[in-house]
Symmetry: C2
């Protein structure tokens, strides 16, 4: 194990009907609240109404920012910042999935930053103060509801980048699995791929003596692999929605990196490049790239892929080389994602090799890409080539 700090100030209210806790979290009456959401789905499924009822009960003065994009854009962040300053917002409430939450994290810290918020995303500046915010989760996927990470897209520059800050933890998050009942099949699948990818990124570390946390990661993966097909056959089942929702939050709240080097994250870097250029769903991009990254890396050192194959996919290791075991595990992962309906090649989105050079550059937004294996522009291109068809 490496030395580490474990802390997470977010309070999670999990379960059906937990929206009522919003009153307690709002505290005394009269707060000026900015309500942030995406498209109209929360109006169709009743979540908007439930939130508004709680806010009205506390006589909160509510302002709204809607239309946050699936890959939330700097321009939208700036709109939110303007409202916060203009209306002296005291609490921001994100009602939605990871995109809305990521956007709110940026608004929250940006409201107190005088310069261009992109400075913070690009680590030219560090936030020193933030408006408190909470979340009402409506999509199980990114884990943003219990971490301090936010990914923002600068659409004009085709750049999609993550930033983080100790100020970017939600004060509270309300996780009601029934709020995800109406999430359509494809979004549900992308969410499942996304949370599994978060675990996999962390699983591919090189720290020794991490058996408990390794088992925790395998536990999250096994639980999702078990629940996902049942959920897709019965999208309104609260038990399956709950299992997947809690797995998604746990997948990326810091716990699973305790004592490790933090894992690899090259696949995420490459995917950020991909969805910055093509605006495809993050989970779709990951489903295509991750198995190819694994196969690429297993050719050098299959150790962790072998462990995953045996412990998570139940691959029988008798009489096989490590590489063979690893390859069977990678195939099992791809087959599992395919069985859910996730894409498996760039061609599924009509993407060809024509912008690969640009895409490689977009993947190198950070100086270092990858940790399990340090990527070069050549190795990223190799992974993209493997992903074509």
């Amino acid at each position: 194990m490496q030395s580490f700090v474990q802390e997470n100030p977010t309070r999670i209210w999990f379960g059906e009907g937990q929206i009522k806790q919003l009153q307690q979290e709002l505290g005394s009456a009269g707060k000026r609240v900015l309500l942030v959401y995406g498209g109209g789905s929360i109006k169709a499924n009743g979540v908007y109404k439930a939130v508004k009822e709680q806010l009205e009960h506390r006589q909160a003065e509510v302002f709204e920012l809607s239309g946050v994009e699936p890959n939330p854009r700097l321009t939208t962040v700036n709109k939110g910042i303007e409202i916060c300053r203009d209306k002296q917002i005291e609490l921001i409430l994100a009602v939605g999935g990871g995109s809305v939450i990521d956007c709110v994290k940026a608004i929250s810290a940006g409201a107190y930053y005088e310069g261009d918020f992109w400075d913070i995303v690009t680590r030219q500046a560090v936030p020193t103060r933030a408006i408190p915010f909470g979340t009402v989760l409506t999509l199980a996927a990114t884990g943003s509801e219990m971490n301090n990470i936010s990914v923002i897209t600068h659409w004009e520059r085709n750049e999609k980048r993550g930033w983080s800050s100790r100020l970017a933890y939600p004060k509270f998050s309300i996780l009601d699995p029934t709020y995800t009942h109406s999430v359509p099949m494809d979004q549900t699948v992308y969410g499942i791929v996304d949370m599994m990818s978060h675990v996999l990124e962390q699983y591919f570390h090189r720290t020794s003596n991490t058996t408990m946390i390794d088992r925790f990661m395998e536990s999250v993966l096994l639980t999702v692999i078990e629940a996902a097909p049942m959920l897709l056959a019965d999208l309104h089942n609260t038990d399956f929605r709950a299992a997947v929702m809690y797995a998604g939050t746990t997948a990326f709240n810091g716990l699973l990196s305790s004592g490790t080097d933090g894992g690899d994250w090259a696949s995420h870097q490459i995917e950020h490049g991909l969805s910055a250029i093509y605006d495809i769903p993050h989970g779709g991009g990951l489903a295509i790239l991750f198995p190819n990254w694994m196969q690429h890396c297993a050719e050098d050192d299959p150790s962790r892929m072998t462990k995953l194959a045996v412990n998570v996919f139940g691959i029988d290791s008798a009489g096989k080389t490590d590489y063979e075991i690893a390859s069977e595990g990678i195939l099992a992962l791809r087959n599992f994602w395919n069985s859910l309906g996730a894409p498996s090649k760039l061609g599924d989105y009509g993407i060809d090799a024509s912008r690969f050079d640009e895409l490689v550059e977009k993947s190198f937004m950070k100086d270092k890409v990858g940790q399990y294996k340090i990527m070069t522009r050549e190795t990223v291109k190799d992974i993209l080539m493997r992903s074509l068809s």
Copy 2:
């Protein structure tokens, strides 16, 4: 899953040399600090010196309370409360194991309570304010370093009772596995039994759809079962100390009850009665009682014991009844604890049946004993009888 709240405000600094973080936690210079510890072991092993160096570096004004008992007593809590009031203590620092930390939790809340602190332990009063405190852990066992639970003994009344409060979380805890290198064999074993018992108590719940958390619990048990024999053969091994230390903290920091009914805890209630009368080590009492509680319960409903037997002890279930599988698992647990040198019968402590009636009454300090199976005075006595030899 049941509805639940997940929050834990304690900051954990884990790893060799993390004592240096004490400076950051102390903040600006000049704090009035009460240093609380048990016997002289922290002076012999260098931990006392390391802590004092950090405190001196910040020009803290340090007062001391030493001699906290293995089952910390109300009289000692009262001594600490008096010092806090007398010296206007601003931060309390527990340096030791669960007993010292539990004592500090009581001092911290008791300093602001005008009445007898036993009122709080017996839930006649609720703490409303507490002096902030941190811990430097020197024994992996109770998990008190990351939870809000404290167990105090009223020695004159032979009563040992737990209390908890949202104010009783440590602000920070420093977990340096090398600080546990000098813990002797028997204390190390009791700690291992204690942390495993915490997981087992939580494992014996009756909530459905808890697969991820069930797997987490199995992961903690598997990790301890794997590490313990290696650690006992090599007490100064930092990797094994680290694995056991982190498992002990995770075993009882709230996470493993997320979404469940909280588990059973009858064995703990009975053990509190036992060690209130006989002052035996908590881990020793649990090693004797827990398998007998399991066997007693398995006779009615072996379901969870069967799951444990298969998933943790690798019992082959082919051709066996659930009760047979459960019984083999219980025997495997007892054999494992025996192999570490833990006691297996009350006779090992020279305890006979002469005070069983009194002991049964002590177990009923709370109205309800047990949850997986609600205990009566008769069933508690049955477990004690099974534990005699």
